[in-house]
Point group: C2
């Protein structure tokens, strides 16, 4: 089965490039209420399920023990931009657990945002693991292990108790079987398990609606989602797509990007979870599609919000002189499938 073209990139009078993909929207009862493409094909969720990976941080009592508020919990679910505030907050999380940046096993990389990276270079700085977009998630892993008195060395390995606990939580909320047969390694060295696209949408619906999972897990998930919605900059960064989508309806939309064209999220008021993947892994298309999909889900009841999301779904492409030369445009297949 070929996934449909969901986003087109135009230039002048023609379509220049085309992005295929799939999405699933699941309700509080676990039913797929809208979908496009093959939603049973296994995909790696990558960073789009950091909320699931942060569940043990809350459930273990570590978050409360270290006095973490919305900002810290949002950073624990973040693919952040490595701005100074992100790095400082990750350092402070580690410090509260008596740990330091040297404990991080995520590796270092320059911030993805070229302007942020140039600012660092201009200041004569070099990136550390605190600037890794996943440093908040890793700080969460380490704080959980420290709180539980576990050995932290090698906490990124699939066999370590930290990752076994995280994997069990993901399997529980998604209902998917996460075996070594479907295990890859993520950019930050932890395992990422492939599962059907729809199962990730189901997991977010369960946490958002508080159904289908134990009450304590539902509370932890809801708390993390609400923290991200309250402090979306900590979960993303200046000008980022996650931030812009969540700011379109503050406190009411949760949306999280993942590498290789993935987005997951929830509309908690409607008890809906969603997941999408662009076949070719393009972030630009995933960012357009997530806004277009959310627009369709709210269009009947909130046309103004839908219009704001439509604008995010259809960015203009400009050349180096600032002239408009084309743009991204979700296809009619998105509207047809989301209805």
């Amino acid at each position: 089965m070929e996934n449909p073209v969901l986003v087109e990139v135009t230039r002048g009078p023609l379509v220049e490039s085309r992005h295929r993909g799939a999405f699933a929207v699941v309700d509080a009862g676990g039913a797929i209420v809208a979908s496009a493409g093959d939603v049973e094909r296994p995909i790696y969720p990558r960073s789009a399920i950091k909320v699931f990976q942060a569940l043990p941080l809350v459930e273990s009592g570590a978050a409360d023990a270290f006095g973490f508020g919305d900002a810290e919990l949002s950073l624990a679910c973040a693919s952040h931009s490595g701005e100074p505030g992100h790095a400082a907050l990750a350092a402070s999380m580690l410090e509260r657990a008596g740990l330091g940046p040297v404990c991080l096993e995520c590796g270092a990389h320059w911030p993805f945002d070229p302007a942020v990276a140039r600012d660092m270079a201009r200041a004569g700085a070099e990136p550390t693991p605190l600037h890794n977009n996943c440093s908040g998630k890793h700080a969460g892993f380490l704080c959980t292990a420290a709180h539980l008195g576990e050995d932290i060395a090698g906490y990124v390995r699939a066999e370590h108790v930290v990752q076994r606990r995280v994997t069990a939580a993901i399997a529980d909320v998604t209902g998917a079987v996460l075996s070594p047969d479907v295990r890859g390694t993520d950019g930050c060295s932890i395992p990422t398990y492939a599962a059907p696209l729809a199962s990730f949408a189901r997991g977010f619906a369960r946490l958002a609606a508080g159904t289908g999972v134990p009450a304590e897990r539902a509370r932890a998930g809801r708390r993390l989602i609400e923290a991200c919605m309250a402090q979306p900059w900590e979960m993303s960064g200046t000008g980022r797509a996650c931030l812009r989508v969540m700011e379109a309806a503050p406190g009411r939309i949760f949306a999280k990007t993942g590498a290789e064209g993935v987005f997951c999220g929830a509309l908690p008021e409607q008890g809906l979870g969603f997941a999408l993947k662009i076949d070719d892994g393009a972030t630009r298309a995933a960012e357009s599609l997530v806004a277009a999909l959310l627009a369709e889900l709210v269009r009947r009841t909130e046309p103004d919000l839908a219009a704001r999301l439509d604008a995010l779904a259809t960015p203009v492409l400009r050349n180096w002189e600032g002239a408009e030369v084309g743009g991204l445009c979700p296809t009619p297949a998105v509207v047809a499938a989301a209805r």
Copy 2:
């Protein structure tokens, strides 16, 4: 017609992302000798046909009048990395024609290579139009106009004599009809005309083989292609895919990237031209595919060269700690179609 999956991106045991596309290989007689996907679909060639756009620079006598050698001609066909040597060479081309960087209408942008951009930022510098990846091409446009005594203002506009001359040259070598109906604007503000993918392969075959075009045009095209092969760094930049592919067989492979997943080139010894486009516009897939396609075209006669190209076609993906987590892999469809 759906184009086939030509490049897969793996992570662990699974394929994580898939890139569809098309390619055409054309011989000296203009016949398509190998192809995959829809090669009659119009595509914007973008920067992959800078050799065609530089034909008037040579044909007009401007290149000789200003004493341009291989380095300058290669830069005139370049999407360069904005390294100091590129910017200085573009400036010197303009200076020889009594012009300056202020004449450039391509706009300024930070070098695409993050390390080059950070080096500039670290040095307290800001990008100028000389750092635009197209500055050599624009210097060529300006030098041609200056040599012919033309007004240079607005030389990027489709109606200006500079672009009309360039467009006529492209139409001649490709055999395509280039009307305003298929005209977009490129990143550097000049027009880009869509035409069937196969027509661009045909144009490069004609220039490489010296067939099907007037002798003067064939000589100019061959001179430009040879200049690029002699000085490939000027046409690209440190570590770039064009450079690595051309260095696999110095002086014998011409390959040039274009935005949105395009590559064009030639194997002059075989009298072959080729063109490829990844549907979704992904550069990573175009870079893998161009190496894979070239490998198939030389495999029977030069297995060692084919092996070097195979290595370029299958880059390993590493995470931030340097561990191998996956890679790019051309599909069997490439081998089947290229035979």
